[in-house]
Amino acid sequence: MRRWRSLRLLAGAAVIVAAVAIAVLAPLIAPYGPLEQAPELNNRPPLWHDDSGELHVLGTDPLGRDLLSRTMYGARVSLLIGATAVVLAGTIGVVLGLLAGYIGGAVEVLIMRLVDTLLAIPFVLLAIVSVALFGQGLVGLILILGLTGWLGYARIVRGVVLSLKEMPYVEAARAVGAGPARLLRRHVLPGVWTPVIVVATQQVGAMMIAESSLTFLGIGIPPTIPSWGAMIADGRAYMTLAPWVAVFPGLALTITVLAVYFFGDGLRDVLDPRMRL
């Protein structure tokens, strides 16, 4: 049992490291440029050799671009947005959760009502409205995902702070004259980190899916940047002719997200066995 758990953690970590390596090294290891078009060589099947004998391992897309190269480059957007959006969401959520839990009163009511309200709007619809506000683009998308993804952190952090506030050791620290800043930094924050890290790892996968969904809908990453969501959207129109165009980027995304979930679950078991399901 324990072996299976650590195996899951390791397998997840290995796939994540591989995905990051591919994303970073894409310009060096991709056989073709991600935007290199060859309209006369479009929709060729996987393992296809072109006239000059060059191999296209995953075939080509409707514009004749090499699918393997595009899938490698697509990892960049996915991982970059997954990671940065989670950091942004986590930071907002932790700060607001700390404020709500520690200060209480009207601040707490205001923040928690905001959480309730945002929870009532389905995330995709909220993101769609925000696209109207921030426009389409990499930075805009990170902002949208970050600004809509913090709710869970705020709830958890507030809960932890409320329970920690009553702990004898925190009261003792306050009794010997520790100020609010010191109390938060030395006594409350350390208790907050574990659940936050666990939620954050699991949210990376959800953010990657959210980004690709919005891109698929045509309101995420602009089509000039190779991304898995846009590639799947490209392939959708050619389902009968060239199904591989939609299949491979989707597989890449699913495998990466699965690895993140494996890693997150494994991390949770290691960091906080009480949260184990």
Binding site: A120, P122, F123, I128, S212, T254, L258
Partner: protein, 307 residues
């Protein structure tokens, strides 16, 4: 009970008011001006000013909001710039399709998740458990829109047994409903499994076993019932991910629901439609959660007192 219901009702009103506030100001802050999209490029400044006046865009934002609220309370959410008819009507016409799709997906996912989750919990750390948890994880990691496309590839393109998209008969709902069910199924499976594991450790389950009751009675009568009550509330909260998933999946299968109308409206900058769709969907979500909470309080008297 009455006090509890009234308090929950007030909370629901506050949440809906908050939704209206957020949606209204987000859309007013948007840099792109819907007026210029409405009129021909040759429109004179005077025509633009007239149109702005007609739509109330020349007044201060808070006045616009108050006017918007006054009309919204009377059921008027503005006219669609694209359909040239009341936005609320357009949304309410699409809503039954979304609720139908969501309802079928909900029943389907619970029907699968309940037995799988219970089996996983009862046979903890067995092959069944790993299979159940593993499938749930894979389900959670698969982007719903991609799963939809893959189902189209298998069942419509290759096997030719189901239609690809649209809504022209009962067979058209199968693929979108299965795809949407796959969004909720992993979450519910995990919830059922952890809920079941929790109640199986309760004293009353041990007592039931000690009394010599058969395992079927212990699980079916004592454990399951106690697990189902908290599950109802969590399921209510998950309706949001169900509705959110529907927005994307409707687009994949050209299903004529609210999500499809809303996504199309954003590309044509039809803000009254976007506004109305969010208010209606959030309203539906808040209402369903209100019903769930009232049902919960009715089933479990402890909530009425302490909640």
């Amino acid at each position: 009970m009455a006090t509890y219901v009234v308090r929950r009702l007030l909370q629901a009103v506050v949440v809906l008011w908050g939704v209206s506030l957020i949606v209204f100001f987000l859309l007013r802050l948007a840099p792109s001006d819907p007026i210029t999209l409405l009129l021909a490029e040759t429109a004179s400044p005077q025509q633009i000013a007239e149109a702005q006046h007609e739509l109330g865009f020349d007044r201060p934002v808070y006045v616009q909001y108050l006017l918007f609220m006054e009309r919204a309370i009377q059921g008027d959410l503005g006219r669609s710039l694209f359909y040239k008819e009341p936005a609320l009507g357009v949304i309410l016409r699409a809503l039954p399709n979304t609720l139908f799709l969501g309802g079928i997906a909900f029943v389907l996912s619970v029907a699968v998740a309940l037995p799988v989750g219970i089996l996983s919990a009862l046979r903890r750390d067995s092959v069944w458990d790993y299979l159940g948890v593993g499938l749930a994880l894979i389900g959670q990691a698969t982007p719903p829109y991609w799963l939809g496309i893959m189902l189209i590839l298998v069942f419509s393109v290759n096997l030719r047994v189901l239609p690809t998209s649209g809504s022209f008969g009962p067979e058209y709902v199968v693929l979108p409903a299965v795809t949407l069910a796959a969004v909720l199924m992993p979450i519910v499976t995990r919830l059922v499994r952890s809920g079941m594991l929790e109640v199986l450790h309760e004293d009353y389950v041990r007592t039931a076993r000690a009394k010599g009751l058969r395992e079927r009675v212990v699980v079916g009568q004592h454990a399951l019932r106690n697990m189902l009550i908290p599950l109802i509330t969590v399921l209510g909260l998950q309706l949001s991910s169900l509705l959110g998933g529907a927005v994307i999946i409707e687009q994949v299968f050209a299903w004529p629901g609210v999500g499809r109308v809303a996504v199309n409206a954003i590309s044509s900058r039809d803000y009254p439609i976007v506004q109305a769709s969010i208010l209606v969907v959030s309203g539906a979500f808040v209402l369903m959660n209100l019903l769930v909470d009232v049902l919960y309080a009715w089933l479990d008297p402890r909530i009425r007192v302490s909640g």
